[in-house]
């Protein structure tokens, strides 16, 4: 990189004025007169500084490019790992990733498993839709529906395992799309709300069915409220414990008490897992009871309706995330 300072050129007429008398210093060097000399020195200094700046700039650029190269390699490696994890349904730690926390691994692994489960679920729902449209018999529909209900058991089991490793990830619902998260209750959907939706979609229902589903919806809601109250009590108690530990000064006895309160708080957090399990059990039991009330054909319509509803929620999330922003 050439030193492109324009002033260099103009002042590079460090052309010594021929007419100016030169004189020799005691080492025999030709030195110009004082004013020329200071101008030369300034120029030389400026040139040297420019060269130095250029050299440093080249070194920085080289270092930056090297960083880019290595991060590109890491990214490729990560992409490969993720691809493999998706195929195998578990997270494989790449080189140099051993320091990553256990919960980080757990969350990623669960997200991958959930994505696979969802794909599978969608395929089954489409199979059911196809069978209904093809006027399949009750027996065939029954097989597909029972398969779907058993398939729900899979994700509840997977969630329970994941909650052991990282309960906050499950509770957060980050593994669901944003619009779904809007309706999040204890790590999943509210059965009582789904039943309200279905009562409309499933018309016509017999009077017996109407009463049974209304009762089911009410029971689910009561159970949801009860679990919510337990959660609120937990949150309140946690807040009280932490507030208590805040009031401590720094004396040794109070440090012990602080640690004791932290231990208590930890114990309380331990019960979060149980709440998720009970919430999932409620979802499972509610669906099972619903399908006892409905005929096979109605069950098929119910499954399809629920699948459509969540599909639309997920589509809404995609639209939302892709919306044009200022």
């Amino acid at each position: 990189m050439a030193s492109a300072s324009p002033r260099t050129d103009t002042s590079a007429d460090g052309d010594i004025d021929d007419k100016t008398p030169a004189f020799h210093d005691n080492q025999g060097m030709v030195v110009s007169n004082p004013s020329e000399r200071s101008r030369d020195q300034k120029t030389l200094r400026r040139l040297a500084q420019n060269r130095e700046a250029a050299r440093k700039s080249r070194l920085r650029k080289k270092a930056y490019v090297q960083q880019l190269e290595s991060s590109r390699m890491q990214l490729t490696q990560l992409e490969q790992d993720l691809q493999r994890a998706r195929q195998q349904g578990k997270y494989i730690s790449s080189t140099g990733d051993q320091s990553q926390s256990l919960s980080g691994n757990g969350a990623l692994a669960f997200d991958a498993e959930y994505a696979r489960w969802l794909e599978d679920h969608t395929r089954r729902a489409n199979e059911l839709r196809g069978a209904v449209n093809a006027h399949a018999g009750d027996a065939e529909l029954r097989i597909i529906i029972d398969g779907l209900l058993t398939h729900y058991d899979d994700i509840y089991r997977i969630k329970a395992e994941a909650a052991k490793a990282d309960v906050f990830h499950i509770l957060s619902g980050m593994w669901k799309t944003p619009a779904e998260r809007c309706f999040l209750w204890l790590g999943g959907f509210r059965s009582s709300e789904l039943l309200k939706l279905l009562m409309v979609k499933l018309e016509p229902l017999t009077e017996h069915q109407m009463i049974a589903i209304t009762n089911l919806q009410q029971s689910a809601q009561q159970a949801e409220d009860a679990l919510s109250q337990g959660m609120e009590a937990l949150q309140q108690s946690l807040a009280d414990t932490l507030a208590g530990s805040l009031a401590q000064s720094n004396s040794a006895g109070n440090v012990a008490s602080y640690m004791g309160q932290m231990a208590m708080a930890m114990g309380k957090l331990g019960t979060l897992e149980n709440f998720i399990c009970q919430a999932d059990n409620l979802r499972k039991q509610t669906f099972q009871q619903l399908h006892r009330i409905l005929t096979t054909r109605q069950s098929a319509r119910a499954v399809i309706a629920i699948n459509d509803y969540f599909s639309r929620l997920r589509a809404l999330s995609s639209l939302w995330l892709a919306r044009p922003r200022e």
Binding site: S219, Q222, A226, Q229, G230, M231, T271, Q285
Partner: protein, 102 residues
Amino acid sequence: MDMVKDLASKKAAVIFTKSSCFMCHSIKALFYELGASPAIHELDQDANGREMEYALQRLGCNPSFPAVFIGGKYIGSAKDIISLHVDGSLKEKLIQAKAIWF
């Protein structure tokens, strides 16, 4: 053992809980919501709490709290109660034991 069975038959609905247990709080809330007035025995606050907890374990109550008894019979823990409530059996049992009327 007898103490637990004795307490369990004293009222139509009896629940053994711990005040520190938040799932117990949920089950109590559910019973109150249904209008039942269960007798509550807090194992961590009762003088005989420890013995009662061992007795419940020996009876096969797992976990030992919350332990719900209706009409003197052990019905189950949180998961069982919620499942029974969803299929309508809980209300039926409560009505049979005259813990509630409708």
